[in-house]
């Protein structure tokens, strides 16, 4: 627990109102992100893992102000950035944060050249002269492995391959040397052969530039490779949070156990206790005050239907939101 805390998220919530028309008042809310707490230290990678629709991406986008948070507090570099009103604050925040998107075919404007795309954050922030921007673009393109950069500078995204496009997207995100980057499944649209290259590249750049990453993924193997800490989300709630090795080796929450047992192991002899869960993921619209995993949990108890479990520390920075566990690792059931 040493090191500077870059990002701290306290009780973050994002509810989407379900309106029928512009003028009607919303009666139902979709609880995309509900009461999230975590913090990221400088140079560390936190991975958010979960099924599709569990609010991982919404969390990332809410932190980066693409959505206004419904409740909670976001502290970035010691400054409260939950609601940014002043233009100066916005500029400061947006110049220090960036996002890498999932689909490299959609996250680059097809009508802009690679130079325009990579230099755009600097254009928006009015950073440096044109000459300086050009040099910085060339430098970062070289660092993400697009070389020679001047051969690519004036090409359009459709002239590049998927891997090259994602490298350009990474270059664009890192050109201003941000403190904090949200990476929203940056490798899931790529070829398996390119995926590892891009992941290695990101690891190198994170170490080199000492950035903090929020790495969103649905793949526990990727999360384990990339992240220092993993937090598992289920329907907008954080169900487990631990250092990545600890989480993979010692999963506590039934959902995490099920997730890990679903990861294929390249060993035909391997036998693992599988955790059976029932049904599919529910809808987080006006959820009842009970454990969100209640319907699918093989260990569901009476208390799970009555109140929501809190995230409890079971030691070694391992937190889990389940009534099966109490403080200091005692097992209840």
């Amino acid at each position: 627990m040493s090191g500077e805390i870059v990002l701290k998220v306290e009780n973050l919530s994002k509810f989407f109102p379900m309106k029928k028309s512009v003028f009607s008042r919303a009666k139902h809310f979709l609880h995309a992100v509900d009461n999230l707490n975590f913090q990221i230290e400088k140079g560390k990678v936190l991975s958010l893992v979960g099924e599709s629709g569990c609010g991982k991406t919404t969390t990332g986008k809410t932190i980066l102000k693409l959505y206004e948070p419904t409740g909670g507090k976001i502290t970035f570099l010691g400054k409260d950035v939950t609601h940014l009103h002043e233009a100066e604050d916005k500029r400061w925040f947006h110049s220090k944060t960036q996002m890498i998107f999932q689909d490299p075919f959609e996250s680059l404007n097809p009508r802009k050249t690679i130079f325009d795309i990579v230099a755009e954050p600097m254009n928006i922030q009015n950073f440096g002269t044109l000459k300086k921007r050009e040099l910085m673009v060339m430098d970062i393109l070289k660092r993400v492995g697009i070389s020679p950069p001047d051969a690519f500078l004036w090409r359009y995204p459709h002239e590049l391959s998927g891997g090259q496009r994602q490298r350009v997207a990474i270059a664009r995100a890192l050109v201003m040397k941000p403190e904090f980057v949200v990476a929203d499944e940056p490798t899931s649209m790529l070829d398996v052969s390119i995926r590892t290259q891009v992941m290695k590249l990101m690891m190198e750049l994170i170490k080199e530039m000492n950035m903090s990453f929020l790495y969103i993924t649905h793949d526990l193997a990727v999360a384990r490779y990339m992240a220092d800490e993993i937090s598992v989300m289920y329907l907008g709630r954080m169900v487990e949070y631990a250092d990545s090795e600890e989480l993979i080796n010692n999963p506590l929450h039934p959902y995490t156990k099920a997730l890990i047992s679903a990861v294929p192991v390249p060993d035909p002899e391997f036998k693992r206790k599988s955790v059976e869960i029932k049904g599919g993921i529910g809808k987080p619209i006006d959820p009842l005050p009970r454990c969100r995993f209640y319907d699918r949990c093989p260990f569901a108890m009476e208390i799970c239907n009555q109140k929501e479990p809190e995230l409890v520390d079971v030691g070694q920075n391992h937190k889990v939101a389940c009534f099966l566990y109490k403080k200091d690792g005692d097992t209840v059931a």
Binding site: V22, K61, L64, K65, L66, K90, R91, F93, H94, S95, T97, Q98, M99, F101, Q102, D103, E106, S107, L108, N109, P110, R111, K112, T113, F115, E120, P121, I124, Q125, L130, E134, L135, M138, D139, K142, R143, P148, P149, D150, W154, A169, R172, M176
Partner: protein, 329 residues
């Protein structure tokens, strides 16, 4: 490692071309690519040829002829004769085509060919000004409505519905009864009215598609303002469609002008519609007479049809550039 990077950056810096010349080259390249697709569409090329013929006739041939053959004091020493406004006393008017008047004269003794050529640049001006205003308004309103959504979007879309249902020509007739409408005012009125109409709906739907794409969010994360996103991301992506609609709007504007001048409602010196109006009011386009005096209405009518059609054909050709689905493989 970093040293070598720096030196290579500096060497490549030396051979960098200036960004402006590169951008010009890129534009030229994309123009060439689009031209290749456009030139493969026959209908578009026919339209382009017709427009070029009219443009040459109106902007080059007419000034030359006006300076030489149709010089106000030439033709005959007896009277000064202006082919667009004057009366030719040497024959009974309307006179059929002859060597003196290649397309004959109208009931007021004016040369038909001269009137036709004199009107051509004005038709172009009207069509293009009206279409430009339409497209500028339509693009701005469409993208703004799509981007901000909500009540603003609803408001502009209902306005567009009303404008679409509006009886366009009757409205123009009422307007021209209320005020003196010359060519520029007409272009402004047509541009404003159709700018809030159907084109907004089309461009809004296109902008909605662009708006939902991740590069918009990517710009937002970098701190881009709403106006930056609209100007730099959404408008360039709907621009081809606006350009296409501009071509269709030229047709509409020229057509509306012809209708209004045919009713004699415009305060203009000469236009194709007005030529037909003149023939009509003098009673030459009635019943069986109509083919006896064909030179009074056929050249003007054919010109309106051809030029309107030509711009529409160009639009069809551009459609194939803009919508790859329409291309023949």
């Amino acid at each position: 490692m970093t040293d070598s990077t720096n030196t290579t950056v500096e060497t490549t810096e030396a051979k960098l071309e200036s960004p402006i010349s590169i951008r010009m080259k890129l534009m030229w390249r994309s123009f060439k690519e689009n031209w290749k697709i456009f030139s493969q569409s026959k209908i578009g090329m026919i339209g382009l040829y017709i427009v070029i013929i009219f443009a040459v006739a109106g902007f080059i041939v007419y000034p030359i002829l006006a300076d030489t053959v149709w010089k106000t004091t030439s033709l005959n020493a007896m009277v000064s004769y202006n082919p667009v406004t004057g009366y030719d006393f040497l024959q009974n008017n309307p006179a059929p085509p002859s060597w003196a008047h290649l397309l004959g004269t109208d009931p007021l003794g004016r040369d038909i060919l001269a009137q036709l050529l004199y009107s051509t640049p004005r038709e172009f001006m009207l069509g293009i000004v009206a279409a430009l205003i339409t497209v500028i308004i339509g693009t701005l309103i469409g993208t703004i409505a799509a981007y901000f959504g909500g009540a603003l979007d609803t408001f502009f879309m209902r306005v567009a519905d009303i404008v679409l249902l509006f009886p366009f020509i009757p409205f123009l007739i009422v307007i021209s009864g209320m005020m003196q409408v010359d060519l520029l005012t007409l272009a402004l009125i047509i541009g404003l009215l159709s700018g809030f109409g159907g084109i907004t709906i089309v461009l809004r739907s296109q902008a909605l598609i662009v708006k939902s794409r991740p590069f918009i969010e990517s710009a937002k994360v970098s701190g881009a303002s709403d106006s930056y996103i609209i100007v730099n991301h959404i408008i360039p992506n709907v621009m081809p469609l606006s350009f296409l609609y501009m071509m269709f709007n030229v047709t509409g504007a020229i057509f509306s002008e012809a209708v209004l001048s045919f009713f004699g409602l415009l305060n203009i010196k000469m236009s194709w519609g007005l030529m037909i109006y003149t023939a009509d009011t003098a009673g030459y386009i009635i019943g069986s007479n109509i083919w006896n005096y064909w030179w009074l209405w056929l050249p003007a009518g054919a010109s309106i049809t051809l030029l309107c059609g030509a711009f529409y054909f160009i639009g069809r050709g551009l459609d194939e550039v803009v919508n790859p689905r329409l291309r023949k493989r």
